[in-house]
């Protein structure tokens, strides 16, 4: 397969599956208790300079508690997978955690608007960027999960998105068609928020999985934050519900409301008012420093952040909103 065309973006991670195999060969397969505090998990497994990926979909089942902790601990110079990264990107930008990004979707919060803080950071020239698309990054994770150096796809061809990517176009040896090759993406460390996990890391996700099944398999180190710990007996009662097996997992952190202020399907809806407070506070960089101090740096942990924004009462309101009970109550 001869290369016809190459993107000029830099490949930010090593796509070599044998290097990844060497890493996975040494990774523990022991089914041991991996429960620890989120603070300890971030301290042990997330290092300056690492390439980081965050599970979920921006503000849906996203481990926001972990993003806060990464910022609180002052991680710097990280690589980052911007795979529909919305509120997580906003938080990590606020901490200037990363200096290089694989971009599929950043800065925006979908229908909510654009993050002024993330935009300032991305327009500052401090961040090296390589362009991709959502499916490109999903396919790159899939290639890594397969243990192969790339997968071919048919998107991106003919565009500037390709030109600024680190992909390559080849001629298909079977059909002669031009194909985009998506290089495998093996993150150094990832965090995925799940509904339920046991102490070993066997995890259950309800609802859409986005790219998390491949991400869990592609990443070298994996931190699971979970709404609830459940027993191993419960996991074994119905193994068809397990989407992430224990041997992929390095740490299990029980973080109730760990996706707040994002949406956790079947648990709580997003806190749109608080997400708007973020966007508003970011307009003035000085005021935003105060906002960050209050909401991240001066909070001991996620529980304190939750208390700051209405505690159990607010969480119950968001639960009602998730299940559309608020509509019945208001008769609209």
């Amino acid at each position: 397969m001869d290369v016809i065309e190459e993107g000029i973006g830099r490949l930010l991670t090593d796509p070599d599956p044998d290097n990844a195999r060497e890493f996975f060969r040494k990774k523990s397969r022991k089914m041991v208790d991996k429960v620890m505090s989120l603070k300890d998990a971030i301290a042990r497994f997330v290092h300056d300079g690492d390439y980081l990926a965050i599970g979920g979909f921006g503000a849906i089942r996203t481990p926001i508690a972990a993003c806060h902790e990464i910022v609180r601990q002052g991680r710097k110079n990280m690589g980052f997978a911007g795979h529909t990264s919305t509120h997580d990107f906003e938080v990590l930008s606020a901490g200037e955690v990363f200096n290089r990004v694989d971009i599929a979707y950043i800065i925006g919060l979908e229908a909510r608007g654009l993050s002024p803080c993330a935009r300032r950071y991305m327009e500052s020239g401090k961040v090296e960027i390589t362009e991709w698309t959502n499916y490109s990054l999903a396919a790159r994770l899939k290639a890594a999960a397969m243990g192969v150096p790339f997968v071919p796809t048919r998107n991106v061809l003919g565009t500037d998105t390709f030109h600024y990517s680190a992909g390559k176009v080849v001629k298909c040896p079977f059909t002669g068609k031009r194909l985009m090759l998506q290089p495998a993406l093996y993150p150094d460390v990832s965090v995925i928020h799940v509904h339920e996990a046991d102490i070993y890391g066997n995890s259950r996700i309800k609802g859409i999985t986005i790219s998390d099944l491949d991400l869990a398999r592609a990443t070298k180190r994996l931190i699971i934050t979970t709404e609830r710990l459940i027993s191993n007996d419960e996991i074994r009662r119905d193994p068809s519900l397990t989407s992430i097996p224990f041997y992929l997992v390095d740490a299990v952190c029980e973080v109730r409301y760990g996706a707040y202020p994002g949406n956790m399907p079947y648990e709580y809806f997003s806190d749109e008012e608080h997400l708007q407070e973020w966007l508003k506070a970011e307009r003035d960089p000085d005021a935003f420093k105060e906002f960050l101090k209050l909401n991240i740096y001066d909070c001991k942990d996620h529980a304190e952040y939750i208390e700051l924004h209405g505690g159990i009462k607010r969480m119950n309101e968001l639960r009602a909103k998730e299940f559309l009970i608020h509509k019945e109550v208001n008769n609209d």
């Binding site: 979908e110 061809l157 500037d160």
Partner: protein
């Protein structure tokens, strides 16, 4: 004549394009409103798909994100990104709606940046998201956007998402799936499609109260005229009533 606003007009025109039994990949905002309106008018069996994994939900209200709980509320399946995009790539998805900061005469879209320096852009936008993927794979790509000279430009600063690329057969030569591409551009002033040979944008329908000149004056490149330009049919009372009372009662989209 019934009173309606620009957004209501565009959503209604878009909804009429979606025939019963078709599949559509949508984002939030106007496209989602159009798909919901189509389901409640002539196309109850329209299958809505969201890139994060939601398949055929019974949308209880307008989603805020293409992955939020509403996008798989009472859905037939809660899947993932690869499954949805690969379903599109296999040729199973008929329509998609996209947007961008800029569009050119071939329907190429820019949602990445303004300015020449890629590493230090004058204005940075979110990037492709799933737009490039949907536009590459879905059979017919449509755009709902205001008619504005700053949006309809001779040359986009960055081709994030493929239209007909450089026109003619350039899209087919690029390796993108054959037969898929931009189909209709729906604006507040009219509807455009693409001339079959050159793939250049042309006006097919003009909204009540506007002329071809109005559309051309608000477009940064020369528009072609379809052999027969029609007047766009405004929203009916029934369409407006469903849109206002059932699709977007809080006027999130139609109030913009």
């Amino acid at each position: 004549m019934t009173n309606y606003n620009v957004m209501e007009m565009m959503i209604t025109v878009a909804a009429r394009e979606l025939e019963d039994g078709a599949t559509v990949g949508v984002g939030t905002g106007a496209p989602c409103a159009a798909a919901m309106l189509a389901q409640k008018t002539g196309s109850p069996n329209l299958v809505i798909m969201f890139e994060a994994g939601g398949v055929s939900p019974l949308l209880p209200e307008m989603p805020i994100s293409v992955g939020d709980s509403r996008t798989f509320y009472k859905a037939v399946m809660a899947s993932g990104m690869c499954d949805i995009m690969e379903t599109c790539c296999r040729g199973f998805v008929d329509y998609t709606f996209l947007g961008g900061a800029q569009i050119d005469m071939y329907g190429n879209l820019n949602s990445t940046r303004i300015g020449p320096d890629h590493q230090r852009p004058k204005v940075r936008f979110p990037g492709s998201g799933g737009a490039n993927d949907f536009a590459s794979f879905c059979w017919r790509m449509m755009v709902i956007t205001p008619q504005d000279k700053r949006r309809f430009v001779e040359k986009v600063d960055f081709i994030t998402t493929p239209g007909w690329l450089e026109g003619g057969d350039s899209r087919a030569k690029s390796g993108l799936p054959l037969g898929a591409g931009p189909y209709k551009i729906i604006t507040n002033m009219g509807v455009m499609d693409f001339e079959p040979e050159t793939k250049r944008m042309r006006v097919v329908s003009i909204n009540p109260g506007y002329s071809f000149k109005d559309i051309q004056d608000n477009c940064g490149f020369e528009l072609l005229k379809a052999p027969k330009m029609a007047e766009t049919k405004p929203p009916t009372d029934k369409e407006l009533s469903i849109l206002r009372n059932e699709v977007d009662p809080y006027r999130y989209i139609i109030g913009r």
